[in-house]
């Protein structure tokens, strides 16, 4: 690790100011960034920790009944505090990494990083959540722009994520055996106006919505409704843990299992 300066602002405004510095980098729980720095693959001049900002912490319900999670809330807190309002989201948070990861890693950090195998992007895209930053609101459908790429501007901070609570939802994760990130993860959410299906881990383009399955499930929310559907293997990740064809196959399996579990 190279030397760096460290700032731990107490408010979003202070954090935004600090992030305007030369080579400044926001630090959530550091579960990706710190190992990367230790390998000397990243060398920010200043790390701006977002974990000391009270307004970016915790889980609450807003007036519209949406579950609002502060951008610097660790997964373990989401697991505990969202359980009563949005069990599928709490369950997802409870299966990220291991206890150490869940007590350090944050929802904002995960979304800003947009690892193609991370779990949270599936929940956010699968619910059509709103990502609130220090400057604007971003719809989930506009946020994810491919592997490790998002709509966030330089220095922009995810302050909160607002999830509309579905009538029924489930997340199925088939783990990559070593990292236990999602080899394929599927979030299915049923709303009054339709069903959303988001897939993580599988695609070279990062998290994506499986619109064909959404249409079928919106008409008939049952595993049988998508029994004959499949995603093309061409754009799927192929690596030592599984071929593109295997991942494409798992998308179908995990989606059906998510639907079955949600009904």
């Amino acid at each position: 690790m190279y030397n760096f300066d460290f700032a731990r602002p107490g408010s979003i405004d202070e954090a935004a100011t600090a992030l305007q510095g030369e080579e400044a980098q926001a630090l959530g729980g550091g579960q990706t960034l710190i190992p990367t720095m230790k390998q000397r693959l990243a060398a920010p001049a200043t790390l701006v920790s977002l974990t000391g900002i009270p307004e970016m912490q915790g889980v609450c319900l807003d007036d519209d009944g949406r579950v609002c999670i502060g951008g610097a809330t660790p997964h373990a807190v989401v697991e505990a505090e969202a359980a009563a309002h949005f069990p599928a989201l709490a369950a997802l948070a409870g299966r990220i990494g291991d206890p150490a990861v869940r007590n350090r890693g944050t929802i904002g950090g995960s979304l800003a990083n947009n690892d193609p195998s991370a779990c949270y992007p599936a929940a956010v895209l699968g619910t059509g959540a709103t990502i609130k930053t220090n400057t604007r609101d971003i719809a989930a459908d506009d946020f994810f722009e491919g592997m490790f790429t998002t709509a966030l501007h330089e220095g922009e901070i995810i302050t909160e994520v607002r999830f509309p609570v579905p009538e029924a939802a489930n997340y199925q994760k088939f783990v990559q055996p070593a990292s236990r990130f999602a080899l394929v993860g599927v979030f299915v959410a049923k709303y009054a106006d339709g069903v959303r299906v988001a897939v993580t881990g599988a695609s070279e383009d990062g998290v994506f919505r499986w619109s064909e399955a959404e249409a079928a499930l919106s008409a008939d929310f049952s595993a049988d409704a998508i029994a004959d559907l499949s995603v093309p293997a061409d754009d799927m990740i192929s690596d030592l843990h599984g071929s593109g064809a295997y991942r494409a196959h798992l998308v179908g399996v995990m989606t059906r299992r998510a639907v079955s579990a949600a009904t």
């Binding site: 690790m1 390998q39 000397r40 088939f174 055996p177 070593a178 990292s179 080899l183 030592l240 843990h241 599984g242 071929s243 295997y246 196959h249 798992l250 399996v253």
Partner: protein
């Protein structure tokens, strides 16, 4: 009734108190005054010509003491290989130079090219980034068969191609074996890969070199399974330091699994640099470095054929194996695919004709050497897989096919030149079947099917050879070392004992089990016996711990030394009681005169030895300290039968192990709890190989999964609760304890039963085309196999 002390008791591991409370003293805990740190600049190319290394900028960086390159080591030797294999034509293997720091070429990713010593580790690492290297990347050879092509790039330019040796065992068997195949009623053939593994001990390697000017003495603190071997190899072959000027200390070591047997370049570097700089020099491996610098294990590609007659008797076994040596010959690398593999190819079966061919190959990869089991897992896996395949082809019960061919009379001389002294393979198989309720399997399978899962049962046997010996034989086979073990027993005046053993404990619990043996022999409390190991300054020359040899060989040396102590103590006791030595009996710490009520306590005798006022001084010397070296007359041959039951998710290919049972014959048992633990750990590693682990190189020689993000280690939820049994006992006939060794059995015996179980599950589900799946049986591979 289970015993509560001595041999046979499950005494709690005394060393665990310090390990579990953070009081262990590991090599990285050693920090010497004035210590400097080294960072190794390693090749990130698998094969490259080193045109120029410019260290001038780096040398002027803050805190830098000196930058070393290969040129600094021209005057010293290279890393030696400890075993020379002779090929089919009677010629010695090709043995390349292995410089401490690369000279001329870098030959694998991780090969150290330069080393920066600085006041701090960060300074050393910063300076390493300022080293300018002019390298030409060369085409890499990774695949073994490709490496043997005429036009393949050569890993070592000075050698004649990339073939290390082409070995036949036994060459005289070849014609008869080929003839037996001609005459066979049935031949089953299997091609398989025994994949490359990374040992991954919890504690990464560490070395601290020190030099004392006043005494001209060098000291190396290192994470080693065999400090005396390191002292000999490094002192005599690399640095030219005589043993009396070189001390090697291996304190608490956090697991080795073979990877800490070998002499590594970093050890020689730290010792050398400490003397050059007159400063202690420390290196602590990062986990990332461990992946590309610790010796790897396995990496065999094998074709095995089994011939049977019309009555399903095995008539011949023929194998051809390509064994990856990596870029250099690690310490015992050549012996693993040969004398730890070929000689075990008879397994538990009376097959009259066996011929084994092994081609060892250099590639641009990390060197491969012994890893828990070392050669024996590779032998067991192919044999037990091909037998299962044969049973399926012939439509016979795989257990009965094995039983029919079991060796039942001992001693048994195999066609591959070893003699099994004892064993009872039917007994362990009977025990196993008693443990697993085989008759109930069909009902369990039906239950799984109702839950949408495919259930399978796999069974296999294994035999291993532990305590490789005797020295005279292994010398003939090319070992450049003896394979005895040593112990010094020092009795103190007040009766306590210190046993200084040449064995080394790095997780095996020697401090407990060795103490049990000595305490039992004398009849004193275990707490009166202290086991000292790991420091060449205070232990006799020993060969260390690997190959499940410590109790069988090291324990035997300890028994012999303790017998000498008891014999001398009896003379003293006879003198004190004015009796004949022949009438003295030792029981529960009391010396008594047979047929009388006269006795003296152990402590009275030990005190007399050191305060010899009333003492047979004309007959014996004062003091009570004895040393013994024990050189076994044969290997020991633990054996057993293992079973695994799995469920396969037909939609995802995910394998879940539901139960695992192990029935082992380890001979006599000193500490049943420790033996259970050794089997548990071994099976976990075997399951790791069967389902999870594999070091994957791409065609450019890059290790694709060089971190835990992609290299899958077994976790608690990957393994079941084990059922283990070691009540079947045929004591070893040639060592005083009748013990055989248990450290590697689990890793040797478990992979075939896991794979047999998965193949069984798929076969029963109608995937009859699936006769084999190469390890690891990851979900994607199992799913792919089901797709046909």
């Amino acid at each position: 009734m289970p015993k509560d002390s001595g041999i046979g008791a499950s005494s709690k591991r005394r060393e665990d108190l310090r390990f579990l409370t953070g009081e262990g003293r590991y090599t990285d805990d050693i920090n010497l005054a004035g210590q400097a740190y080294v960072y190794f600049l390693r090749s990130d190319m698998a094969h490259a010509r080193i045109n120029r290394i410019d260290t001038s900028t780096a040398e002027n960086m803050p805190g830098v003491l000196r930058v070393f390159t290969g040129a600094d080591f021209e005057a010293v030797g290279g890393i030696p290989c400890g075993w020379q294999v002779t090929d089919r034509q009677g010629n010695p293997m090709q043995e390349p130079a292995h410089p401490v720091l690369a000279r001329g070429k870098a030959r694998h990713v991780g090969d150290p090219i330069a080393a920066v010593v600085a006041e701090t580790y960060a300074q050393a690492r910063n300076a390493a980034e300022a080293i300018e290297m002019d390298l030409d990347e060369l085409p890499a050879v990774v695949d073994m068969k490709a490496a043997l092509a005429d036009d393949a790039p050569k890993v070592h330019d000075e050698l004649d191609g990339n073939l290390c040796y082409d070995w036949g065992w036994i060459e005289d068997n070849k014609a008869a074996t080929d003839a037996a195949f001609e005459a066979a009623a049935h031949v089953t053939t299997l091609e398989l890969v025994n994949q490359r593994l990374v040992a991954n001990p919890m504690e990464p390697r560490v070395a601290v070199g020190d030099y004392a000017k006043h005494s001209d003495e060098s000291t190396l603190y290192t994470t080693s399974q065999n400090p005396h071997v390191i002292r000999l190899l490094m002192g005599a072959f690399v640095l030219g330091i005589p043993e009396h000027k070189l001390r090697v200390v291996a304190p608490d070591v956090g697991g080795g699994f073979g990877s800490k047997i070998f002499h590594y370049a970093e050890e020689a570097f730290c010792t050398f640099a400490a003397k050059q700089l007159r400063r202690p020099v420390k290196w602590t491996s990062t986990r990332s470095e461990a992946f590309i610098s610790d010796a790897h294990g396995r990496d065999h590609v094998t074709r095995i054929e089994l011939a049977l007659d019309a009555e399903n008797n095995f008539t011949a076994i023929r194998t051809e194996t390509y064994a990856n040596m990596g870029a250099y010959l690690s310490t015992f690398a050549p012996s693993v695919p040969t004398y730890l593999h070929g000689i075990l190819m008879a397994g538990n079966y009376k097959t009259p004709n066996i011929y084994v061919n092994v081609k060892a190959v250099f590639t641009n990869t990390v060197p491969v050497d012994a890893y828990r089991g070392a050669g024996r897992p590779e032998a067991t896996f192919q044999l037990e897989r091909v037998i299962d395949k044969a049973a399926r082809e012939l439509g016979v019960d795989p257990v009965e096919l094995r039983r029919q061919n079991f060796i039942t009379e001992f001693p048994y001389a195999t066609p591959v030149a070893v003699e099994y002294d004892t064993g009872d393979y039917n007994a362990t198989m009977d025990k196993l079947l008693e443990m697993i309720d085989r008759d109930g399997f069909e009902a369990r399978r039906a239950e799984s099917a109702r839950n949408g899962k495919l259930r399978g049962l796999g069974v296999n046997c294994y035999i291993e050879a532990c305590g490789i010996a005797p020295s005279a034989l292994v010398g003939q086979l090319g070992a450049r070392a003896g394979l005895y073990e040593s112990a010094t027993v020092r009795v103190n005046a007040t009766g306590g004992l210190v046993v200084m053993t040449g064995s080394h404990s790095h997780g095996q619990g020697h401090e407990t089990s060795f103490a049990q043996v000595v305490a039992d022999m004398i009849g004193i409390d275990e707490s009166m016996v202290e086991i000292v190991h790991g420091d060449t300054a205070n232990t006799p020359m020993g060969m260390g711990t690997y190959g499940s040899r410590s109790l069988a060989v090291g324990g035997s040396a300890m028994v012999r030394a303790t017998e000498k102590i008891i014999n001398k103590a009896k003379k003293i006791a006879a003198h004190l009681m004015e009796a004949s030595e022949a009438d003295i009996e030792l029981k529960e710490g009391q010396f008594s005169v047979a047929g009388t009520d006269k006795s003296v306590a152990w402590g009275d005798v030990t005190l007399a030895a050191y305060v010899p006022h009333n003492y047979p001084i004309e007959e014996i010397e004062p003091g009570l300290e004895e040393t013994a070296f024990y050189d076994p007359s044969n290997f020991t041959y633990p054996s057993g039968a293992y079973a695994c039951e799995v469920e396969v998710d037909p939609e995802t290919g995910k394998v879940q192990i539901l139960s695992f049972a192990a029935a082992d014959d380890f001979g006599n048992i000193v500490n049943p709890m420790i033996v259970d633990g050794q089997v548990h750990g071994g099976v976990a590693q075997g399951i790791g190989q069967a389902l999870l682990e594999q070091a994957v190189y791409d065609e450019n020689g890059q290790l694709v999964n060089a971190s835990y993000m992609d290299y899958t280690m077994p976790r608690a939820d990957d393994v079941p609760f084990y059922r283990v049994d070691h009540s079947c006992v045929t004591p070893c006939t040639h060592n005083p304890l009748g013990v055989k060794g248990c450290g590697e059995a689990g890793a040797i015996g478990s992979p075939p039963s896991v794979v047999n179980a998965v193949v069984d599950a798929l076969q029963r589900a109608g995937h009859t085309h699936v006769t084999h799946i190469d390890m690891p049986l990851s979900p994607s591979r199992v799913w792919q196999a089901m797709q046909g």
